[in-house]
């Protein structure tokens, strides 16, 4: 095979792989269960509870067999603040494939109150609207659970 063809194939492969990596919400190919967890409360116990539920799902089904996404909006967005005391747990769950979505509408409103944009956990992906994200996921077959 000519070198130029090999080179083209390599470039194409690299681009394809980067696109897969670039999509932070890429789904797991073999996941049989899909769950979206909502956190919209200010209660710190709810923060612990939603993380516990995510962890229990991953442990029960196996991280390759379950898709879990935590969507935070309203007062619940505090869970995804970079300073949040649960940062370590979030990092661990993210490593196991759990996704975290932060509502941009809430971010905007909180920015007005704080006078500056809150720093978010690096594992969080900003979505246009938390509740819309939940509806979209439900339409894709996700089960909604609000601990």
């Amino acid at each position: 095979m000519r070198f130029s063809t090999l080179k083209s194939m390599a470039v194409f492969l690299a681009i394809a792989l980067s696109l897969v990596g670039f999509n932070a919400h890429a789904e797991k190919a073999f996941a049989e269960q899909k769950v979206v967890l909502q956190i919209s409360d200010n209660d710190p116990f709810k923060q612990t509870l939603v993380l516990n539920v995510a962890n229990n799902l991953v442990k029960h089904y196996g991280q390759d067999q379950v898709e879990v996404e935590i969507v935070a909006f309203g007062p619940g967005l505090r869970l995804l603040f970079d300073e949040n005391t649960n940062k370590g747990r979030i990092a661990s769950l993210a490593g196991a494939g759990v996704k975290f979505s932060a509502c941009s509408n809430t971010i905007r409103n909180m920015s007005k109150v704080l006078g500056e944009k809150p720093a978010l956990n690096s594992n969080a992906t900003v979505v246009d609207a938390g509740v819309v994200r939940i509806i979209d996921l439900v339409n894709k077959g996700y089960r909604l659970v609000k601990p």
Binding site: N42, R78, L79, F81, N84, T85, N86, M110, V113
Partner: protein, 477 residues
């Protein structure tokens, strides 16, 4: 300076420890001064209630001018008028949190006391404010706490009292750190109260405390923080305060400084019962204003002066699995609380003729010729030290057994005045649940004047000291 040696020793121990490992015991600076970032409520209401029963044999004084009268060390706090008492020792209600949940940089802590203890009984107050503080977390490495709160110091004082494994503090903590505030040193009232200070309280106590006890608190400003490296957690605190205990305002121009360091290897868990091994050192330095009566009843030669008050300590705590242990050594220089005359309850008239004749009048209370009225005393320039060691074992998740040995050496710089207190406490705790428990303690108490003959009045008086039985129920909400 003593505190420099103390801090240097602590730092050297830290350096020798190397990197990561888990720490024992809780980080009280952070637990009491801050809220979990991003996860604290706006206002969390909390509190605890501690009803208790304490009793001694009630043995009376066997020697000295107050022979046959009640021995103060056999009476039950805080009123010290009976040797058996049921009491609501502490009933605290507080609220803590973040003023604005979105901003974790501002925390507050508010706590009130409605129980009957040394904080509330002085004024017969039904409610006292024990803590009111604001913490600003804006500067990395230097959090700022302002208000009234527990100063950084000895473990028994700094830790949250509602997770304390025992009912009563050790003698060294009670004697050197649970500060009482007096106007006079009490030396004049022993000789002849007639011309002495007119400072009797409504209860008839002579040289009665001016306010409630210090309760390990002060009003001031503290800079502190915690640094984590692997499994190690290093904490520091520097505080500048009024030096007037749990009182809201200052009583003189002097201020106290507090310095604290701890290094802890964290094994796991969180909160007050986090597992780990901690070493710590602290120093408290300040001055007190008090009037020395110079041992006579002539008020015209009383001298008001300022006296140094220095306290230092070094210790360690360990908690892992079923094992709990702690040790602390404390030294003191100046303003040593020296109890009461002859071991009697302050305000008690003597039964034997005093060294000076003449009637006396204190707040209209007329005594007979030669009678004395026992008063509280302070040794303004004395020295003291003490230590304690504690071991606890969790037999089952609901049962824990504890044993503690504590030694307190008072007035070590004056041979005739030196007193040594030794107590062995055996205890048991039953946990109904993690927030409700019962504590039982039996204290085997012994005291002596080590440099005086065994038949000296001081030793005969101290031989009257009974053992003490205590039971306490605690619920945290």
């Amino acid at each position: 300076m003593k505190f420099f040696k103390t801090m240097t020793m602590a730092a050297a121990c830290t350096a020798a420890m190397g990197v990561a490992s888990t720490a024992n015991a809780a980080n009280w600076l952070m637990l009491q001064g801050t809220e979990p970032a991003g996860a604290a409520p706006r206002a969390k209401v909390w509190g605890f209630i501690q009803p208790e029963y304490q009793s001694t044999g009630g043995e009376d004084l066997a020697a000295g001018p107050w022979t046959g009268e009640k021995a103060i060390f056999n009476q039950i706090r805080p009123d010290i008028d009976t040797n058996k008492d049921m009491n609501i020792l502490r009933a605290r209600l507080g609220v803590r949190g973040t003023a604005l949940p979105l901003d974790s940089n501002v925390n507050y802590f508010l706590l009130t006391e409605m129980g009957r203890n040394g904080v509330t009984n002085k004024d017969s107050a039904s409610v006292k404010l024990t803590d009111a503080s604001i913490t600003l977390n804006h500067i990395d490495g230097a959090r700022v706490r302002v208000g009234k709160f527990k100063y950084p110091g000895a473990e028994e004082g700094l830790q949250a009292v509602h997770v304390f494994d025992y009912i009563n503090f050790t003698n060294v903590t009670n004697g050197l750190l649970m500060e009482r505030f007096f106007k006079y040193d009490g030396s004049g009232t022993f000789v002849q109260p007639a011309a002495g200070p007119d400072t009797a309280s409504d209860s008839g106590q002579v040289n009665a405390p001016l306010s409630g006890v210090g309760a390990f608190r002060d009003t001031g400003i503290q800079i502190f923080d915690t640094f984590k490296k692997d499994d190690w957690e290093h904490s520091y605190a520097i505080m500048y305060g009024n030096g007037n205990g749990s009182n809201n305002s200052d009583n003189d121009d002097n201020k106290d400084t507090y310095v604290y360091w701890s290094s802890e290897k964290v094994y796991g868990g969180k909160g007050p019962r986090r597992e780990g091994w901690k070493i710590f050192a602290w120093n408290q330095s300040g001055k007190r204003t008090i009037t020395r009566e110079l041992g006579d009843a002539d008020a015209s030669n009383d001298i008001e002066g300022e006296f140094d008050r220095e306290r230092s300590g070094i210790g360690t705590t360990f908690r892992k699995g079923k094992i709990r242990a702690s040790f602390e050594y404390i030294t003191a220089d100046g303003m040593i609380f020296a109890g009461s005359d002859g071991g009697a309850v302050p305000g008690t008239l003597s039964n034997l003729p005093g060294p000076a004749a003449g009637k006396f009048t204190v707040n209209g209370d007329v005594g007979s010729d030669g009678q004395l009225k026992a008063s509280w005393n302070v040794e303004t320039e004395g020295e003291a030290d003490g230590w304690y060691a504690h071991f606890g074992y969790q037999v089952t998740p609901k049962w824990e057994l504890d044993v503690r040995y504590d030694v307190y050496n008072r007035m070590t710089d004056v041979s005739a005045k030196e007193r040594k207190y030794e107590t062995t406490t055996i205890g048991a705790q039953y946990f109904f649940n993690k927030k409700t428990r019962m504590i039982l303690n039996y204290e085997m108490r012994d005291a002596e004047a080590p440099n005086l003959p065994s038949d000296h009045n001081a030793n005969l008086i101290l031989d009257s000291m009974d053992d003490r039985l205590s039971a306490q129920l605690l619920v945290i909400f």
